[in-house]
Amino acid sequence: MTVSTLPRRLAVVVVVAVIVAFLSIKLGAFRDYQIAEIAYEVTAVAGLTVLTGLSGQISLGHGAFMAIGGYATALVLMHLNWPFIVALVIAAAVTAVAGGVVGVAAARLRGPYLAGATLMLGVALPAVAYAFPATFGGDQGLDVVFTVPSFLGVNFPLTRWQAWVGTAVTLVTLLLLANLCYSRIGRNWRAVRDDDVAAALDGINVAVARIRAFVVSATCAGIAGSLLAVITALVAPGAFTLTLSIALLTAAVIGGLGSLPGALWGSLLIILVPTYATDVASSHGLSSSVGSNIPIAAYGVVLILVMLAFPQGIQGGVRRLIALFGGPLAREREHIATPEHSEKEGSS
């Protein structure tokens, strides 16, 4: 018996949207900005967690897709002066095409080879901005102008508008992503991830499924990049370094690979832990090089400890907690997340 889950998902989306809207009015401007930051982070991580967790393809260079989305948005807004929603759709489309190209190139690659290729992609793509400085602004990047629409009045704070736009776009993206994951397409991904030979024997076109996963995942990252452009008001190569790509993967795995709530936990962790650690360190009046590196060392320790303590990610830990305390409420749903270590035996 299939019960339509779409109304349920829509309900969750509406509730979350209302809560965020309430928070954005109650909390100050800086928290609104953080809500917007978390929004685009979650979008990117959600796309990556679907790619790596559901379809089993690792990407160490997802920042490159965010860069494509961001620059596309900046260029459209700057040269064509169209509204943001149009720029967003264009950016998503451009990034989808890029994702398709990369997906085709990556279709035959496995494990560490895919990791190496995507790593180099993440490093090399920002270099394109330097190669064509007239178009892309070189080292200084491109300014992005994003204003509050006039119907909201003159006094509506920009940060609140950014939080609203970010949250709205993220929720819509997550909704579409969730529907995709529980559809036949999503099931095909999981089949290909777990045993691609069996999937092929079953009539699934493995290459198409893998490429499709890359396209979807890249589109999410492109949307996230587009949001980043209007929220930070700048796209520059320095914003899309390898550090960003690694942070996205870290967030996806630590949050819980393959799970959309995991994208939220992971994003919260990578955004809030460094800030919190910095506050703690600077309040102790240490020398500059010690004080600024303690948050870094602490963040590394947190990553290691969380990964060891929650092998299925934070979402896995949440599930376990519910199972411990929840009783009948916690009947495990179909386990869609991390593949049980399906080691592909390659050549030895």
């Binding site: 349920r8 509730v15 965020v20 100050g28 200084q140 920009l158 940060t159 930070t232 020398s287 749903r333």
Partner: protein, 451 residues
Amino acid sequence: MSRPHRFRLTAAVAVATAAAFTLAACSSSPGSSSASGTSTGSSTAPLTASAPGITASTILIGSHQPLTGPAAPGYDEIAPASTAYFDWVNAHGGVYGRKIIYKYLNDAYDPTTTASVVRQLVLQDNVYAIFNGLGTPTHLAVVSFLNSEKVPDVFVASGCDCWDNPTQDPETFGWQLDYIREGKILGQYVAEHFKGKKIGFFYQDDEFGMDGVKGLEDEIPASQVVAKESYVDTNVNVAPQVAKLRAAGAQVVVSFSIPAFTALLKLTSLKLGFNPQLVVSDVGSDPITLSGLLESFAKSAGATVNGNQLTQGIITDGYLPSLSASDSWYVLFKKIHDLYDAKEPLDGNFFYGMAVAYTFVQAMLKAGRNPTRADLVNAINGGLPQGPMLAPFAYSASDHDGVTGARIGVIQNGVIVEQGPVLVTDATATGAITDYTGTEQQAPASGVPSP
């Protein structure tokens, strides 16, 4: 079948509510709008909280700095040096009795992080002004935000001439010598002293190097320039560039490079048996830093003493006094350095940090006893005394450039020895370079500028 979904809804609501309460508990209330304050108060008027970030006893300013990451080496000394100078001022009466609190946050040279930490400083910590934000791509991420929030954005730590935009960015001011001016000054020296020689350029492939080259080309005849080689700071293999310079027969190489790459230029030149006269931008020529980078190689490069041998004879420029014991500013800053931050080396970056802090204190004193944010901006628009700078500032309502000139120097025995007059110019292609006939100001005895 319905239970897991109800659970999911409940869980989502529970989590969100918990998050809401946590965030609400953590957040501070938004800052109040600035109260109007009198900018000309008598010296006995009570101190009030005349602007965000100002209380009766403190002035809170913020900054973004690369404290970690690949851009940190060297630049992470600047903010602690400024803090040391503020500590000195605070211990000697402060600014009209107020203590300066300098809160600088790490952005690791990532513009996204810069955007975030500067919003934290302005929206959450309610700083009075952003001071000495470091880096061109990073600071560009926050210029429009600061100007729309009407937060003074003073003395940006970058030589881009983009800070001079008073019509669009009235809150933003430069401080250091911009790279085009510097290129012109160095270029004129090269054109005059190396007539007929072959000149090569070695420059960083960003606005620092490209603006420098722009200035150089304004002064050096194009017929003399035989090679122009750029590098990126992510690729340490500069052998191809140096090989090209050597193959073109460059006898003088003008380098707009950061210290690490000046050192690499020198080392690679040694490896290729290439020994041109080096002319290096102030950004990359600090003798202490260079010696530190080169000292391991001095012996193996054939020199018998220390890294100083490898920096001997490098021509450079400077807009701050040379680090020699005969200079009153050096004496003052060394005293403060030994007192407050003795572990750090007293090198060019340290001097920079103290000098810019000095300028800030001068500006705050001029802004008045109970300044608003607008008072600070107006104070700088009215012009500032040059303090430790060798040349005057350009500050006016229509010009937000910083110092207007520099003096040529030569590195001898690990110290820059100044030569010739102070030269001032503008940032246009045809603006003349003239000698500055004013005198250098001496450091005040108390170390604190007079109001």
